[in-house]
Subunit: 294 residues, 2 copies
């Protein structure tokens, strides 16, 4: 998720060619999927205004699947026209207040948007994915009721999602909660595909991933170099670092097809990218809603 979730948190516009270098490094490391950018209005996220140009600049022959975030039909159409985005992710937050803050829409309206996008996507051979933001702990309401998360999962699947990610956007979930929620989700939707997404604010991301693995989850979102933040609240750290996750998986003897040494090099480059004084890199500040609709 570094090229999207990571670089949108950097205030400055990072030149397209440097983003390409980061993505190419991740491709070389053997990442199976990369969320390369977000098709949102440049008005809201000027950092990712080069989405089409970026994707056209990537080499085409890799086995890596390119994912992109879209938040409405206009964004989807932009992603589709590249012919290179094979999976799209659509975010709905678990509370009305947070969803409105994020995309200025009710959850019901978001789901209607998603349903129409998912239909178009499938017709074009693009895999639609849903992400439940703040699926575990809400900055305002605390622990999110399981019933509400299950309801959102169901809406995503009935609206056409082929995979649903449960995201600990704050990095505040506890390992037992993670286990319980994924067990419930898998029992309720036994034939469906799930993924997990943990921020590392409280250093619990790897414990949460291990716990999710114990519940049978085997798709995880991560960001090389732990780039990124959280659009829902200030102070959250980035997604779990891909290299830490891969180290853990390899230490358990789990094959990932990822070259750890190349990944560490990509991480070093990512850090260089966001800390370069020429990019005036700074994490986006509190209150800035990063995933606004167009």
């Amino acid at each position: 998720m570094s090229p999207r979730d990571g670089l949108q948190s950097v205030k400055a516009f990072i030149p397209t060619q440097e983003k390409v270098r980061l993505i190419e490094a991740l491709i070389s490391a053997g990442l199976p999927k990369i969320e390369v950018t977000s098709f949102v209005s440049p008005k809201w996220i000027p950092q990712l205004a080069d989405a089409e140009h970026l994707i056209e600049s990537l080499r085409k022959e890799s086995g890596t699947i390119f994912q992109a975030l879209v938040l409405n039909e206009k964004g989807f159409q932009r992603a589709r026209r590249t012919n290179l985005v094979k999976e799209i992710t659509f975010v709905v937050a678990s509370t009305e207040a947070l969803n409105r803050k994020n995309v200025n829409m009710s959850i019901a309206d978001s789901m209607r948007q998603f349903a129409s996008i998912a239909k178009l996507a499938k017709a074009d051979g693009i895999r639609p994915r849903g992400l439940v933001g703040v699926a575990f702990v809400c900055p305002h309401e605390g622990r999110v009721p399981t019933s509400r998360v299950l309801e959102l999962i169901e809406k995503f699947f009935t609206s056409g999602a082929e995979e649903v990610t449960l995201a600990d956007s704050l990095g505040a979930a506890a390992p037992d909660h993670v286990y319980d929620l994924f067990v419930q989700a898998k029992e309720t939707f036994p034939d469906k595909a799930f993924a997990a997404h943990f921020h590392d604010t409280q250093h619990l991301a790897l414990a949460n991933i291990f716990s999710a693995m114990c519940a049978g989850i085997d798709v995880f979102e991560a960001a090389v170099g732990e780039l990124g933040g959280c659009p829902f609240t200030a102070g959250a750290r980035g997604n779990v670092a891909t290299e830490r996750l891969v180290y853990m998986l390899h230490s358990m003897g789990i094959e990932t097809g990822i070259d750890y040494d190349q990944l560490v090099k990509a991480s070093a480059f990512a850090h260089q990218l966001v800390s370069s004084p020429s990019h005036e890199a700074q994490s986006a500040q509190a209150g800035l809603s990063l995933m606004q609709t167009q």
Copy 2:
């Protein structure tokens, strides 16, 4: 473990009164047990040469149990004479080479030492604990065979240990390995007490603790501020930070009796202590055997 495992890794001698402040802060935070120092020769660890003076300077009325590391009978006698050390920990490494490097003794000789110390300790109402160092991954030999660890555990218990800690001294253990080893240990010695000790070199300590909890372990060693290193190899990070562990436990609704905010204050003080330029604080370098015998 910060006052012992942490401060022995700092090159400079930290004044006794500052160590006392750190320990008092940990007592105020409600830590149930604190390893306050190590009774080893000042020739080997001059940083902890003030062991008796330190313990005499601590307030006596707290409910916290004071532990100390001892590596031979002379050290034990020093600990005993304070009348305040209620638990002693004795380290044996899992390989002959590492045990010799650490205490210049064969494993068999170490175990004989421990047996005589344990007998004396019990006669004095002091609880003897054994710690298997490098119980998971050896820097030279890789994964430590389970059979060897079980053999060391058995020797510790037959020599009088009332609790045995399995330590991932390098911070290189994988969560599935941790689970398997503790399950085996508990099945083999069902009536015995175990503890776990994880360094955070690869950021896996909390995942490993959660995994050990799944195997039924409920005693964990940690170091406030993640102070410390590893005497067996260069580059290992300190014990998992107590505050991170407590955060995880509290997030799971597990009562610890520890005041998290006080603990965070103690952590800040610990960092101040080891990073003060006046203490010329630096982590001990590779090759320096920190837990040498007297």
